[in-house]
């Protein structure tokens, strides 16, 4: 299967699709939370809509002597980064931009998140937000390198940084089969750059909401939606780079991409319920001394296989 670029007119549809997938993940999370609280799980499904309605009505805040442009940049940035990520992710046979550096593009967008989260923490001139922002940087120092090397593995196997080539190379055998470590590390990295689940230390209850501590109304919605959108975009990328993208029997290719994205996303949402927050200072040693060497080893295996194949 070859991936073809579609007209730019489809860009809005891609954006809507990403937001829809993100909302579905938030709804699933709401359902699981409702069940844990002893209520019917269906009662939790509308949570993303109700929160949206609540935040639409809620007034925004501006804290004293805040750095407003920086705060605003940080708050809208997460959603922008997520939307820019999906530009290179093919939906079945179609993609918006089959960049020759698609993987680097995705990587660049996830690195932007560093700046955005820190800015969202720095901007409001509030201790809790500030500490949250710096805590995110500490976490980023741990997850980013394993994530980058995990991203390199599909590139080496396909001999290309183009996602179309990565998908084409997975005809017959998905990369997850022979690079499971890279896949697992990548999924953890997705949760980490989404400031979400076990990697939400920058916005946790122990910091009174951290980077979210001062934002309300649409400001808050943009950050929350940005986090879910990042998670959805990362899952879509994982489905493409490791789970064969549109490859699969019976169903049309575009549906396969969606099904695989939904599967990764659902797995992350389900897993999160069982895990506490990882404190960034606990993350750093295993990330550098265990996960990083493991990913490098995975990359070595992939390289050797590629060279051996000739």
């Amino acid at each position: 299967m070859s991936v073809v670029e579609v007209a730019v007119g489809w860009v809005p549809l891609a954006a809507v699709l990403l937001l829809a997938v993100a909302a579905a993940a938030a709804a699933l999370d709401g359902a699981l939370a409702a069940r844990a609280a002893g209520r019917p799980w269906t009662a939790g499904l509308p949570v993303p809509w109700l929160e949206t309605a609540r935040l639409l009505r809620q007034r925004r805040r501006s804290t004293v002597a805040a750095d407003r442009p920086l705060a605003a940049t940080g708050r809208i940035g997460l959603l922008i980064a997520a939307l820019l990520m999906v530009v290179v992710v093919p939906l079945g046979p179609w993609t918006l931009a089959d960049l020759s550096v698609g993987i680097v593009w995705f990587n660049a967008m996830d690195v932007l998140v560093w700046a955005f989260v820190w800015l969202a923490g720095w901007g409001p001139n509030s201790v809790h937000a500030l500490v949250g922002g710096y805590r995110f940087l500490a976490q980023a120092l741990s997850y980013e390198l394993p994530l980058m090397f995990a991203l390199t593995a599909p590139a080496v196997a396909a001999g290309s940084l183009r996602l179309g080539d990565v998908v084409a190379e997975q005809q017959g055998l998905w990369f997850v089969v022979w690079m499971p470590v890279a896949f697992a590390v990548f999924c953890a990295g997705v949760a980490a750059f989404s400031v979400w689940g076990p990697f939400a230390a920058a916005a946790g209850p122990e910091l009174a909401g951290g980077v979210l501590a001062e934002s309300s109304g649409m400001d808050r919605w943009l950050v929350l939606a940005g986090r879910w959108a990042l998670l959805a975009a990362g899952s879509a990328f994982a489905a493409t780079a490791f789970l064969g993208g549109g490859h699969g029997p019976l169903l049309p290719a575009w549906l396969w991409t969606l099904v695989k994205t939904a599967a990764v996303l659902a797995l992350l949402v389900l897993l999160r319920r069982r895990l506490p927050t990882v404190r960034p200072e606990r993350l750093v040693t295993p990330a550098w001394l265990v996960v990083l060497p493991l990913v490098l080893l995975q990359l070595l295996v992939v390289s050797v296989v590629v060279v051996g194949r000739g």
């Binding site: 809620q58 007034r59 805040r61 002597a65 710096y134 910091l207 909401g209 506490p276």
Partner: protein
């Protein structure tokens, strides 16, 4: 108007409630949390996140001032409720929801709010140097802590001051720029010998997952607490004994475990512990709770990720396990004491730890702040 009312109806189906507990009024707080969970609402972590401010009990003068400032920080739509009796919680929340849904009223409230932020007061100390910055509003702070328990004279006059230059009156260096009437952070040596800035950050009394009435004056370098000092802010009048959780009762133990699990970011386990607490507070037969409690305790003790995440704070994980085990033991009628840190020992335990660790360590210290508030002991 159709859209506005539809939005209001949807928004008030999931209300975020910021709960403030006055020492001695734990039952009211538990009742709010229970009702919030039952309705599919949620707890707020900070005023920016909250629609409803639920004050449990009658806070003393200084605590009331802190509550008033937080109330001024709720973005709106907002509603404030005041609770003493656990049985009043459901109707009070109904009223709050109706108030939130009343668009005209909320718009009028937003219209009436001042254009300058309410400045509140500093978390004043007894030792004086911070009082200087407080200008005229320190008259109650120069007296001793008894004021808090007598309730002062209910004079919150200084709360109305929104003048921005308010803080610079007593401050020495007038050369320093003071945006918004607040001085810039000053330098201080940190443990690495770097001349970086030091922040003075009060923790409590208005803070979710924080012991009621506890006020911790922290000196922060980066996110590390260099120094901490403890104070207790009391209630306006002593709460009736029945208004609080019985210290050391199974429900109290589950409540503390829920706090710790919530702070460690394990939402589902925290919800489980809170549900157990509420069942123990309401159900006739606590023995029915035993199997659920055992399951929760097993789940927590088996969690490898919790053990790993808290390895550098082993006392926190231990405390959760001990709390759950002792809750089970006391249901069976076996007294099972849990070690408690005296308030005076708290600062030494916290120095050198980061803000997030401090939150966990305070929750794991087994403090009995309500007792300290009752006896009027304010620990310096």
């Amino acid at each position: 108007m159709g859209l506005t009312s539809a939005l209001a109806a949807a928004a008030t189906r999931r209300v975020a409630v910021l709960v403030v507990e006055t020492p001695g009024w734990g039952r009211a707080r538990c009742a709010v949390e229970r009702e919030v969970r039952r309705r599919g609402w949620r707890a707020a972590l900070c005023p920016a996140d909250a629609d409803v401010l639920a004050v449990c009990g009658r806070p003393g003068e200084r605590m009331a001032a802190a509550v008033d400032l937080v109330w001024a920080q709720l973005p709106g739509p907002r509603a404030r409720i005041h609770l003493l009796d656990p049985n009043d919680v459901a109707p009070a929340l109904d009223d709050a929801a109706a108030e939130l849904a009343d668009d005209g009223r909320q718009r009028a409230d937003a219209e009436e709010r001042p254009h300058d932020p309410l400045m509140g007061r500093p978390a004043v100390d007894e030792d004086g140097h911070e009082d200087a910055a407080a200008g005229e509003d320190d008259e109650d702070d120069e007296d001793d802590e008894d004021d808090d328990h007598l309730g002062g004279n209910g004079d919150h006059g200084d709360m109305g001051h929104a003048d921005m230059g308010h803080g610079d009156m007593g401050h020495g260096d007038m050369d320093m720029p003071m945006p918004g009437g607040i001085p810039l952070a000053g330098g201080g040596e940190d443990r690495d010998g770097l001349a970086l800035d030091v922040l003075h950050v009060p923790l409590g009394p208005v803070m979710p997952h924080w012991p009621a009435g506890l006020l911790l004056h922290c000196t922060l370098s980066g996110d590390v607490v260099q120094e901490a000092r403890v104070e207790v802010l009391g209630a306006l009048e002593p709460a009736p004994p029945a208004a609080d959780l019985v210290h050391g009762s199974p429900a109290d133990r589950c409540d503390r475990a829920a706090t710790l699990l919530a702070l460690s970011g394990w939402e589902d386990a925290a919800t489980g512990a809170a549900r157990l607490r509420d069942a123990l507070l309401t159900d006739a037969d606590p023995a029915d709770c035993r199997p659920v409690l055992d399951r929760l305790a097993r789940r927590v003790s088996r969690s490898r990720s919790l053990r790993w995440s808290l390895r550098d704070l082993p006392e926190v994980r231990n405390h959760v396990l001990v709390l759950l085990a002792s809750a089970a033991a006391s249901i069976d009628g076996v007294p099972a004491p849990v070690s408690a840190t005296p308030l005076t020992d708290l600062p030494a335990r916290l120095a050198g730890r980061d803000l997030a660790a401090v939150r966990l360590l305070v929750a794991a210290a087994g403090l009995d702040v309500a007792a300290a508030a009752r006896t009027g002991a304010v620990v310096a």
